[in-house]
Structures are given as structure tokens and as C-alpha cells.
């Protein structure tokens, strides 16, 4: 294991140039056979005119929308439909929303970072408004009046003399086609904060809600095709691991087996069988030995990221902020916080169905899969086959929970390779064991926060040192052969998300090292923002206590300038909390935290807890959250996201830690990795505040960055326990003082 704590500086760039890749921007590639095809994750935001491809008016006057974002349960699909409905003067129910395939829509950005609404709201509104105005002109011609004489009606227009014309009367025979190169500018009702909105800012029934409660097929594994077989590959223990040895004799002889596929060059070994049961039986018999990693222990992981070990060797690799700190005087707070490896533990196992049809140059493969990036899966599957991308059609399916874990090319690869080998349609559905063992985990991180204040309690000196495993500098961005160079060339900008604190300080040092670990790593809801903000908010909370200051007032007094929106969130949370008097009960605790996610989303949270020290039981009573994400398209969906983040915070503070045993990651079933249940769910109170004339910003992960530290701070308040590591099992609670 490499503890990347040495000074590398310019040599990193040198390595990257030597390999033929420059560090200007981010250059990535995907390795296929011996050829290099650069295949980027779909990071491109839709441009102002992109929405032209997303909407059409059908002959019956209904609006059809190709959803330009992946639906993971975050509800962005319905929010975008609400925007279209607002512009077009129709009900959301009058819009038929379809999750598109890659042949139907020119491009989709990967659905990550809570950016769906922030990046798509305006293009959607522009397209819908342009469509509305095109219809108005057509209506004006039909009625022989000026377009300005037509006022908006319901799914149509009205004239002062009482005549009306419906969209369906305008599209018979001649479809309305928008010019995607240059949409005409039209008034955008969605963003007119003076206007009374009919759709935006209200609740709406989410996409596929009725299908879900009645059991209709919506997920990839729900797809059934004639002649379909069942396949699955053996999960590698580490990205880029190579196969050393395969014993497949017993698997080949297992009943119901159609094909055993071993491709050493690709590091791939899998089975296709007639039924899922036959498949599971054969996979038990397929023995694969990998070249890495060497066996490791929990202590190895802890040591690899140990921030004090790294600091003892000198500076960390990157000084992100490097002011000269005041040497004199002790640190008023000096707090260490270590965070563990987390699994995604999404409820839906990764699934994909692949079917090849046609011959020769006309052969295509259709793939049904739920992911956070349909187009990168399409392109990588095409590269795998040596085909142009158009010969792979990827049908975007609903995802059964992503949390950052579904952005890469994994299960689609299995389905394509196995379906080709078996010459049958193949469904791949990972086992729960695969889901844990093959999970691209949140890496562990270790933090030290040191703060000095002046006589008035104003923060003067700030030092945050972080060591983390990789987050974005993973197979998401580059193939295994390129990763070492990338990791030398730049700091992992996923792990550093949120590392700049929202507090003012005259002098700051923020330093960071990323280290290579012998485990799968990747993207996990909010990336580094939750670990980083957790350390910051626990340290500031502890400092306020030490100074005898009210934790909210101390934060407000020390926020960096221009943080009025954050201050308003904090003030609102305090108001909601204090609406109920603190019970005098022993063991009661209340903790606060605040933060800014991705520069534009403001949030504060608080938790009330009750700790029974005798029984070592903790009850999370209440969670309160105030969030300002600008214009909220669907408040109920934003609330739902906050509720989910509250539950994730309870998991992170009280339960979740990926176990290591027998030299490797050890979780194989849900029982090995406990997550919150209904019995753990507190009362949740949410306030969505702020000026709706501000552009919408991300809401899917925002609350998590404050919910985790707020709950940790509540435990501190309740029983004096300042957690040095998460989770804090109740067995660790200190005995009562008396």
C-alpha cells in the first residue's frame, strides 16, 4: 500500500506529460484491447437550446417529454415535467414522461452531484416556452389574429371575443418542430418570481409512482425477453486486478450451464445459465484467483489514512490554502476525526439485460440498464465490441437507489460480454454478495482541525488537514493504467469537495493527501463534502462549548462574509428547535451544524436525541433542517431528499462501517452492514427557505453534509461524548459520571 505522503510537486505533472497526457483540464481514456479510445464520463451540461430535443406536442395535443436526466428516486423527472407544464399551461398529468434510450435523445449528462435541476431547469423552460410561442403563432394564423391577441389558456389559447383554440387543434397533420440550433427567446414563466405559478413550487405525483405501488415493470431486472438466459461475472476484488488462475471445470459441468466465459485479457470470468438458480450453483464452482490486493486488515486501512502519521512526516501533498499561521499561543481546539469505509447498500442490485440482433455490419445490441450515465455505458460497450456507438442502444431504466454508486460501466459490460458469448439475450442481476464485494465504496478519511480565536472569540487561525482514499480519481475517470499518473498529477477533487470552510479566519492552512488503498473506491452521496464538513462542524461546535458560547450564536458570529443565506438557515433551524423547550430529562441532547454544498446550496440541521446511559440506548427523537436551494420546483421531492439524508446521517453516526475480515472487505449480506430501519426514524421537520428568484441549486445531497455533524454534536450535548471516529456504537458510550 502506498502512503502518498511524500512531496511530489512538479514531478506529478512530469509523469503525466511523459505518458502523453497533459494535465490541462482532465484527460481520461478507456482501454479496449490494445487501442486507446478516450471515453469521457458524460460531464457536459445541456446548452441553452438542448431542450428542443426533449419535448414535442403529439397529434392529440398531449405533451411528450423525453426525460434528460436519469431517475434514481430523486424525482428530477417530475420536477422537469412541472417546468414544462408551467410553461405550456397544462397539468403535469398531461405530460407523458419517458426515460429515453440513447437513440432517442442526443445526449444526457451523468446524473450526479445533485445537478439535475440546476443544469436542466433553464433549458427545459426555454424549450417549453419556445414551443408555447410557436403554437401561439400557429393559432394566430389559424384564427386570423395577431399572436399578441391570444392569451394563455389551459392547453391552448383564448381570444378576447371568447374563441378558444386547443393545442390538439393546432398540431393535426403538421408536427411542431423546434430548431435546436437557436431557440427563440420567449418569456420564461418558471423563473418569473412575480408570477403566480400553477405547477412550479407545488407537489406532483412522481414518475412511475402508480407503477411502483401496483408492481408494474420499471427496473432493468423487470425486463423479460424471449429466450432469455441468466448470467453473472465473478467480481474482482480491486479495479484493474488481473486473473492469475481460473478453475472452471466444475462450473462447466454444472447443470443448466450454457456458457462459461473466461477472458483473461479483460480480467473477466462469468457464467450464463438457463435459470438464476442454475447460475448461482455454477458460480459457486467457478474459482478465480486474482493478482491483487495482498491481504489487509482494518489496522492497515486506518494507518494508511492516519492524518497524524501523515503530518508527522511533514506537509501533506497539497496545500490548498497556505497562509502563514500565527505561531504563538496554543490551539484553542485541536480535534481529530476519522471516518470509515461506507457501502452504498442500495436496495436494487445492479442489473442489465442485453440482446444482440441482426447480422454483420447491421448487428446491434440493445441493453436495458439503470445507471447514472447511460451514454458512457453505451460508448464503453461499443468500444468493448469495437463498434460505432450507434450500434449500441441503451434503454435508460429507473434506478433502485444510486447514492453515487451507479455512474460507472460495470453490469452493462457483463451483460454485453455474456450475451455475445451465449448468443442469447442475457439478464445480469448482481447478488447481494456482489453488491457488497464489488461496491465502489466511500473511502475512509482522517481529519485534524486546529483553530485559534482572539479575545473576542473570533476565529483567527484555521488549519484543516485531511488524508483520504480516492473518490473521483477512480475508474470513473480513467482506466487502471492511467490512474497512477492522474493521481500523481492532481489532488482528488472529489475527496476535497467542501474542504474550504464557510467560517472566516484571518489565516488558513488547508492541506490534503490522497492515498491508494487496497479496496474498491468511488463516489458516495456528497463525495468528500460530508466527511470534510463533519470535521469542520464538530470542531467549531467543540470550540463554542470550550468558550462557553451558544453553538448557534458562535457560528453566526464567525461565518465568512457574504454568507447571509447560510446564516438565515441556521437562524431558522434554531427557531424551529426552540419552538419546543428543551426537556430537563437527563440524557437529552441537541446538536447543530451548517454548511454550503457545491457553492450554491445552503443548509443547517439540528438533531434532538435521548440517550439512556444505563441501557446504552440512543433514541433519535427529532431532526430539523432548513435549506435554501433557491427556486424549489417540487418542494415535496426536496423534503423527501432531506428525509433520506436524515436517515443516512443516522446510519453514518450510529451504525455504518464496512467490515474487514480475513484479509479483505467482509460484508456479504445486509446483516453484515446494518443500516437504519423504520424503528430508527425520527420525527423530521423541514423548512425550505430563501428567495425564489435565486436559481435552483442542488438538493439531493445537501442536507447530508450537516445532518451527520449535527447528530454527532447532539451526542456530545447529551452525554459529553465527542466522537473521535464514526460510527459511535452505543456500546462505546461512557458510563454515567455518578
Amino acid at each position: 500500500m502506498t502512503a502518498a505522503t511524500t512531496q511530489r510537486g512538479f514531478t506529478r505533472r512530469g509523469v503525466l506529460i511523459a505518458t502523453g497526457w497533459t494535465a490541462a483540464g482532465l484527460t481520461v481514456a478507456y482501454l479496449v484491447g490494445r487501442k486507446f479510445f478516450p471515453i469521457f464520463p458524460s460531464t457536459t451540461d445541456p446548452d441553452a437550446n438542448a431542450g428542443a430535443a426533449w419535448l414535442q406536442v403529439r397529434p392529440d395535443g398531449r405533451i411528450a417529454m423525453l426525460c434528460p436526466v436519469h431517475e434514481l428516486g430523486q424525482g428530477s423527472s417530475i420536477a422537469l415535467a412541472q417546468i414544462a407544464a408551467e410553461e405550456l399551461g397544462v397539468a403535469v398529468a398531461d405530460i407523458d414522461v419517458k426515460l429515453p434510450n440513447t437513440a432517442e435523445i442526443p445526449a444526457m449528462r451523468f446524473t450526479t452531484g445533485s445537478q439535475s435541476i440546476a443544469t436542466h431547469a433553464r433549458p427545459m423552460a426555454r424549450a417549453a416556452a419556445a414551443l408555447r410561442e410557436a403554437l401561439r403563432h400557429r393559432a394566430a394564423r389559424q384564427l386570423g389574429v395577431a399572436p399578441a391577441a391570444l392569451t394563455d389558456g389551459v392547453a391552448g389559447f383564448t381570444v378576447a371575443d371568447g374563441r378558444t383554440v386547443a393545442y390538439r387543434d393546432l398540431v393535426r397533420g403538421t408536427p411542431v418542430v423546434l430548431d435546436g440550433a437557436a431557440l427563440p427567446d420567449a418569456p420564461l414563466y418558471t423563473f418569473d418570481s412575480e408570477r403566480e405559478h400553477r405547477q412550479v413550487g407545488r407537489s406532483a405525483t412522481p414518475l412511475q409512482a402508480r407503477d411502483i405501488v401496483t408492481g408494474r415493470p420499471v427496473f432493468a431486472a423487470d425486463v423479460r425477453l424471449p429466450g432469455m438466459a441468466y448470467g453473472r461475472a465473478v467480481q474482482a476484488p480491486l479495479a484493474g486486478a488481473r486473473i492469475v488462475e481460473v478453475d472452471d471445470a466444475a462450473a462447466r459441468a454444472s447443470p443448466g450451464v450454457i456458457a462459461v466465459v473466461v477472458d483473461r485479457e479483460r480480467g473477466f470470468a462469468g457464467v450464463v445459465a438457463e435459470t438464476p438458480g442454475a447460475l448461482a450453483g455454477a458460480l459457486e464452482l467457478l474459482k478465480v484467483r486474482w493478482d491483487r490486493p495482498a491481504p489487509f486488515t482494518q489496522a492497515d486501512l486506518d494507518r494508511a489514512v492516519d492524518v497524524d502519521v501523515a503530518l508527522a512526516r511533514g506537509k501533506l501533498e497539497r496545500r490548498i490554502v497556505d497562509d502563514e499561521l500565527r505561531a504563538e499561543g496554543p490551539w484553542d481546539i485541536d480535534l481529530r476525526l476519522d471516518l470509515p469505509v461506507l457501502h452504498h447498500a442500495a436496495q436494487e442490485p445492479r442489473s442489465a439485460v442485453a440482446r444482440f440482433t441482426g447480422n454483420g455490419e447491421r448487428e446491434i445490441v440493445e441493453v436495458w440498464a439503470g445507471s447514472q450515465d447511460s451514454f458512457v455505458n453505451q460508448k464503453k460497450a461499443a468500444a468493448e465490441l469495437g463498434w460505432p456507438a450507434e450500434r449500441v442502444i441503451l434503454h435508460t431504466m429507473r434506478v433502485g437507489g444510486a447514492f453515487g454508486g451507479r455512474a460507472i460501466y460495470d453490469v452493462v459490460r457483463e451483460a454485453v460480454l455474456l450475451a455475445r458469448a451465449a448468443a442469447r439475450p442475457v439478464k445480469v442481476e448482481w447478488s447481494r454478495r456482489d453488491e457488497f464485494f464489488g461496491d465502489r465504496n466511500r473511502p475512509p478519511s482522517s481529519h485534524r482541525v486546529r483553530i485559534k480565536v482572539d479575545a473576542q472569540g473570533r476565529i483567527t487561525d484555521w488549519w484543516h488537514a485531511v488524508v483520504s482514499g480516492h473518490v473521483l480519481l477512480s475508474e470513473l475517470l480513467a482506466p487502471p493504467w492511467l490512474l497512477p499518473a492522474l493521481r500523481l498529477a492532481m489532488a482528488d477533487f472529489g475527496a476535497t469537495r467542501g474542504i474550504q470552510s464557510h467560517y472566516a479566519a484571518a489565516r488558513r492552512r488547508i492541506e490534503f493527501s490522497d492515498v491508494e488503498l487496497p479496496i474498491h473506491v468511488g463516489q458516495w452521496r456528497s463525495l468528500g463534502a460530508t466527511p470534510n464538513n463533519c470535521a469542520i462542524e464538530c470542531a467549531v461546535d467543540e470550540l463554542a462549548r470550550k468558550l462557553g458560547r451558544d453553538p448557534v450564536e458562535f457560528r453566526l458570529a464567525n461565518l465568512a462574509p457574504a454568507n447571509a443565506r447560510l446564516a438565515a438557515c441556521l437562524t431558522k433551524v434554531r427557531e424551529l428547535c426552540e419552538a419546543r423547550p428543551r426537556p430537563a430529562q437527563p440524557g437529552f441532547g441537541r446538536g447543530y451544524a451548517c454548511g454550503i454544498y457545491h457553492d450554491h446550496s445552503y443548509v443547517a440541521a439540528a438533531f434532538d436525541v435521548l440517550v439512556d446511559r444505563q441501557r446504552k440506548q440512543i433514541k433519535v427523537l427529532r431532526a430539523v433542517c432548513a435549506q435554501d436551494v433557491g427556486l424549489v420546483i417540487n418542494p415535496d421531492q426536496v423534503r423527501a431528499q432531506i428525509e433520506g439524508n436524515v436517515m443516512h446521517a443516522i446510519g453514518q453516526v450510529l451504525m455504518e462501517r464496512a467490515p474487514v475480515a480475513d484479509g479483505s472487505m467482509a460484508a456479504r449480506r445486509f446483516r453484515d452492514y446494518p443500516t437504519p430501519t423504520l424503528a430508527d426514524a425520527p420525527e423530521i421537520e423541514v423548512a425550505l427557505i430563501g428567495d425564489t428568484s435565486n436559481a435552483p441549486s442542488g438538493a439531493g445531497e445537501t442536507a447530508l453534509i450537516t445532518a451527520v455533524p449535527a447528530l454527532a454534536n447532539a451526542l456530545r450535548d447529551a452525554i459529553g461524548l465527542r466522537a473521535a471516529r464514526l460510527p459511535v456504537p452505543s456500546a462505546d458510550f461512557p458510563e454515567p459520571a455518578i
Binding site: 409512482a209 443448466g256 438464476p276 442500495a346 415535496d636 445486509f670 423504520l678
Partner: protein, 160 residues
């Protein structure tokens, strides 16, 4: 081999008789509303009713269910298409996020309401805490069960 599912007899083709009940329902019979979550009985995503009891279909063999009445999420609504009060309450409370665990949650809750028309918070927690939801919809699950229970107590014809 025949299975009695959602009020009708369904023939299970030969290669499927040795599969789990969950696989038999989903693949040959096409009742994909019941989901695979773990195969270990840990998560409750695959709950169906067998003779009125909530059971984890991933832990049963298809042959275990021969001669017994199986009800899946597809069979919960009335024959005329009217939703079960729980399904309606689920829509009213907008419970689902990703939706994957929800059929299991609803089937587990339906068994609860069949035996306890007015469950308190503790009864709900006791019955439902074996059904995992990673999206964290638990608060809404609780509310939807309360709403559906009220609808059921108000009797047929009453709407939520």
C-alpha cells in the same frame, strides 16, 4: 407444477420448479412487482402473502408454495382495478423515492393491517423494521400506514 397466485392457477414450466418462489414468480410467471433484494431474508423486498401471512419469497422454494394461496403486489388491488387503501395511501403520501423496496413494504404493511386495524407507532415499528429502505422513506411509510388504517376503519366506499 401449479401455483395458486392472485386468485388463479398458474402452470410453472419444468425448469423452474427447483427455483426459489421469488424467481418463479418473477421470471416464468412475469410477476416482477416482487423484487430481489438480497436472497438472505434480510431486507424484506420480496415479501408476498402465503395463506395471508407475510413471507420472504427468496427463502422459499417454489414447491413450498404448491397448494397455498399466494398474493403478490399485483394482486393487492381489487379485481376492478381499485387500489388497496395502502396503495392509495402510498400515492397520497408520496412515499416512494427509488421505489425498489416499496412492494415489499406495502405487502408487509397489508399483513399488519389485516391483523391489527389500528396499529400504534410501536406496532408499526415492530412489524416494519425488517423491511429495509435505503432511500430512507420510513417516516412516510409510517404515515401511509396510519392513513390507510384510517381509510380501512372508515369502511368501503370511504375515500382517503
Amino acid at each position: 407444477m401449479k401455483l395458486h397466485v392472485n386468485g388463479s392457477e398458474r402452470e410453472l414450466p419444468d425448469p423452474w420448479a427447483d427455483e426459489s418462489l421469488l424467481v418463479a414468480l418473477r421470471e416464468p410467471l412475469g410477476l416482477v412487482g416482487t423484487k430481489f433484494g438480497c436472497g438472505d431474508g434480510d431486507c424484506g423486498t420480496c415479501v408476498v402473502h402465503i395463506d395471508g401471512q407475510p413471507r420472504r419469497s427468496c427463502l422459499l422454494q417454489a414447491s413450498d408454495a404448491v397448494g397455498r394461496r399466494i398474493v403478490t403486489i399485483e394482486g393487492l388491488a381489487s379485481a376492478d382495478g381499485r387500489l388497496h387503501p395502502l396503495q392509495q395511501a402510498w400515492l397520497d403520501e408520496r412515499v416512494a423515492q427509488c421505489g425498489y423496496c416499496q412492494a415489499g413494504q406495502i405487502m408487509q404493511a397489508a399483513a399488519l393491517l389485516a391483523s391489527n386495524p389500528d396499529p400504534d407507532a410501536e406496532a408499526i415499528a415492530a412489524q416494519m423494521s425488517g423491511n429495509l429502505c435505503r432511500c430512507g422513506t420510513y417516516d412516510r411509510v409510517r404515515r401511509a400506514i396510519g392513513r390507510a388504517a384510517a381509510m380501512l376503519r372508515a369502511g368501503p366506499g370511504a375515500s382517503g
